[in-house]
């Protein structure tokens, strides 16, 4: 009786929550049925989960930077995806150069095989084969992206620092166009293989195949996330960032060096974007000028789902988006498999309907 009354109450007050709960139950039930029956092998399920985790971590990593700049500078940076792409291209140009300089001309290597440059199979870049060049590439990817972030901030955003968020957002669309097609200008517009898949060892863990590059990514992503967490928790910088997100004018009046904090924000955001872009290529094995742009909407979905300004929100949002886009394939088979991405977007919209501020909205955790 008591239960019934409570249930009715819940249904009236939080219909959305009830729908979500019921839908989740149904899906989990169906999933269990599939796993116990022979609709889905544990290995395939595990594969989906692992894939979802890897892509989710990358989205989360890239999302942290977007989230930080979003809350501190007050605008949605549509060029973030193209920072990611530049991170990928700059990093891999160097990784290629180091891995192949003993055998090939520098030009073709620096352009990652553009024109008549050497093929990836010949250069042979992989974490086990050329670990040093991979690490050097990562460092360059981070450094280069930090560089362009700062340069663009100086040239584009700083002169209009006081403009409203929409003006800045539209300027960032301009930056996005310019950056993306500058990649085409210097490199190429297709998709090109980069890593040497024949030299990437993989491990079979309970039927789930995990390769060394994916492991590398997970490790690096986690290290970077923990690093950012510590940096923001332990230093007064994190507080200054939150203060600026609260009220930039007051921060200025208080004596917080506003420009300095903004610069740091770009360094963090750009660096993480560059790292994410570099690592995305490590897992995909291919590189394309629009790789960041293609990820951008998913990253936005993750950031918004997690709540703008929240570092943990971005990470959680990234994981949710990553897992949702992979696990949905359990149900979306055949021609419907093209709906994996719409499912991720749909999920974001759904979350916003019930939590308009995002999962971690209102709680700044930077």
């Amino acid at each position: 009786m008591e239960l019934y009354a409570r249930g009715r109450h819940l249904l009236r007050d939080q219909p959305g929550l009830v729908v979500v709960a019921v839908a989740t139950l149904l899906l989990v039930g169906d999933l269990l049925g599939k796993l116990l029956g022979d609709g889905l092998t544990a290995a395939r399920f595990g594969g989906f989960v692992w894939d979802g985790l890897v892509i989710g971590l990358l989205i989360g990593l890239a999302g942290i930077g977007l989230s930080l700049t979003y809350s501190i500078l007050g605008f949605a940076n549509f060029a973030h995806g193209d920072y990611i792409s530049w991170g990928a291209f700059s990093g891999w140009a160097v990784a290629y150069l180091l891995a192949g300089i003993d055998r090939y001309a520098a030009g073709g290597l620096l352009l990652i095989g553009a024109g008549d440059g050497p093929a990836p199979g010949d250069v042979g870049v992989s974490i086990t084969n050329t670990p040093l060049s991979i690490v050097a590439g990562l460092v360059v990817a981070v450094g280069f992206t930090v560089g362009i972030s700062l340069l663009i901030d100086r040239a584009v955003y700083r002169p209009i620092r006081d403009a409203d968020g929409i003006t800045l957002l539209i300027a960032s669309i301009g930056v996005a166009f310019a950056l993306r097609y500058l990649i085409v200008f210097f490199f190429y517009s297709g998709r090109q293989g980069v890593t040497d898949i024949s030299r990437v060892p993989s491990y079979d863990i309970g039927g789930v195949v995990i390769n060394a590059h994916e492991l590398t990514i997970v490790v690096i992503a986690l290290v970077l996330m923990v690093g950012v967490h510590l940096l923001l928790q332990r230093s007064k910088l994190g507080k200054a960032m939150r203060a600026m997100a609260d009220n930039r004018d007051l921060a200025q009046v208080t004596g917080i060096p506003v420009e300095g904090v903004i610069r740091t924000t770009w360094i963090l955001g750009g660096g993480l974007a560059g790292a994410a872009g570099y690592l995305v290529v490590l897992t995909q094995g291919t590189i394309a000028y629009d790789l960041g742009w293609l990820l951008l909407l998913l990253i936005f979905a993750a950031v918004i789902m997690g709540g703008i300004g929240s570092v943990y929100g971005a990470i959680v949002g990234g994981l949710v988006i990553g897992l949702a886009s992979r696990l949905s394939l359990i149900w979306l088979t055949g021609d419907l498999s093209s709906f994996a991405e719409p499912v991720a977007f749909g999920l974001m919209i759904f979350v916003l309907l019930f939590r308009p501020e995002g999962i971690f909205g209102g709680v700044s955790t930077a």
Binding site: F177, F186, S189, L297, A301
Partner: protein, 456 residues
């Protein structure tokens, strides 16, 4: 009065005219664009038919951009609804039109209904999808709404793109389809063809009496045998009329108590509510009206204008182009929207397509290195031709986008309010300063009783 003085006098007069009359402003701008492109045609040695064709294209693209920029201005300029799902709403409009009107025997099959039903159906469908989008819109902050709309637009595009609905059967056994990634190629032909051809779907079917007369005239006077260019130009002019009608409609919406509430919602929705306005209803109505117009723009542009519907035409980039156009013109101003559409269509969309030809016409650069290093390498040896060849022959399309991006940044830094956004256009059906004694003498004689329609 010396002729010099006379000239400057004329010039000031003209400038004043432009400031006062929006019609003069738009017409002058269009005249300039027509001249520019006629000049380009002349450089490229076009014959009369070619010149008519280029004028037709200028008219067509100006009109379709103006149309959709106007619709966006209603959302963004007036109500502050940050809709970046424009491409999706256009897609809904044109797809619905195509699916309603495509022949049932075609591949994919359609319903074979009359074109008029298709147009209205397309607008209604876009409005309905707008309604569904507006429901979350009511709860969300501007930038969240933006992400939701772009997500919905992507969902729409991916749905049309998906093979799942390539063809499907409705419950009643009627077959219908989106054509998946190959789209719908059997869109009904452009309605203006009915003026000229006996069977509007085929130029070979013979000309109507009007068609015969007009084609005959052009052939006799200008020696134009390509009748298609005349049909295209006609369509452009029809679209210009549509733009005028939509402009009038939106000017009235803006210059009215309705528009005033929209403006208030843009500024502070809680205040609008606390002044007794049912903001949700205003937002929904506005969103639906704007989406219907976007659907219409989709039908007129991607449907009749190009004769086929493909999902890839509705990528988010299209939305950004429209946004760029609205910014160029100045958000909030309808005249600015038309101008912004014109500037974008002509200077950023069409002109770059002709630019390579003009450059090639002037200098011929044979060098054609296929990568950047090969292009810059020779510079050390003092050779600049490879780089130029690389730029012109290999990377000009990419540089066009770089240019668009840089221009956008420049605009945001130097003229964020756009060409006409600085004009404060008071949202009221009458001139508010009038009626007050102190302000009476200023400009009251200039104001037409209809308020904004012509001087917006």
């Amino acid at each position: 009065m010396s002729s010099d003085q006379f000239q400057t006098g004329r010039l000031t007069q003209f400038r004043e005219l432009l400031e006062r009359s929006d019609a003069a402003l738009v017409l002058t701008a269009m005249a300039a664009f027509y001249l520019l492109f006629l000049g380009i045609g002349a450089i490229l040695n076009y014959d009369v038919a070619g010149l008519i064709s280029i004028l037709g294209q200028v008219t067509f693209f100006t009109a379709v951009y103006a149309l959709i920029v106007l619709a966006l201005n209603l959302h963004w300029g007036y109500a502050g609804l940050f809709n970046i799902g424009i491409a999706g709403f256009m897609a809904v409009g044109v797809y619905t039109m195509a699916m309603l009107t495509a022949p049932p025997t075609g591949s994919p099959p359609g319903l074979g209904l009359p074109v008029a039903v298709g147009i209205v159906g397309g607008m209604l469908a876009a409005a309905l999808v707008g309604l569904v989008t507006a429901l979350p819109a009511l709860r969300l902050r501007a930038d969240y709404l933006a992400i939701v709309t772009v997500a919905i637009s992507e969902i729409i595009r991916l749905t049309y793109n998906s093979p799942a609905f390539s063809t499907f059967t409705l419950p009643g056994g009627i077959a219908l389809g989106t054509g998946g990634a190959s789209g719908i190629g059997t869109v009904p032909s452009n309605p203006v063809q009915a003026i000229y051809y006996v069977d509007p779907s085929s130029a070979a079917s013979g000309t109507t009496p009007i068609g015969a007369a007009i084609f005959g005239f052009f052939e006799a006077v200008f020696g134009v045998v390509r009748s298609a260019v005349i049909v295209d130009l006609t369509y452009g002019l029809v679209l210009a009329v549509v733009v005028f009608l939509v402009y009038t409609l939106l000017a009235r919406v803006g210059n009215s108590p309705f528009g005033r509430v929209l403006k208030a919602i843009r500024e502070d929705e809680v205040v609008a509510k606390s002044l007794g306005k049912d903001t949700n209803r205003f937002k929904i109505k506005t969103f639906m009206l704007g989406c219907a117009l976007m659907g219409l723009a989709g039908v007129l542009w991607q449907g009749f204008g190009t004769g086929a519907v493909y999902p890839q035409a509705f990528r988010p980039e299209l939305t950004f182009y429209i946004f760029i156009a609205v910014i160029i013109g100045g958000a909030g101003s309808n005249t600015g929207s038309v101008l912004g559409g014109a500037v974008f269509a002509n200077l950023l969309f069409l002109l770059p397509q002709y630019l390579p030809n003009i450059i090639e016409q002037t200098f011929s650069i044979q060098a054609d290195p296929n990568n950047f290093i090969a292009a810059v390498g020779p510079i050390a040896a003092g050779e600049i031709a490879p780089l130029l060849g690389y730029i012109l022959n290999q990377r000009l399309p990419a540089l066009r986008f770089v240019f668009v991006g840089v221009l956008l940044v420049y605009l945001m830094q130097n003229r964020p309010e756009g060409l006409l956004g600085h004009r404060t256009e008071t949202a009221a059906a009458v001139n508010l300063s009038e009626g007050h004694t102190a302000a009476e003498q200023t400009g009251s004689d200039l104001t037409a009783p209809e308020g904004g329609v012509d001087d917006e």
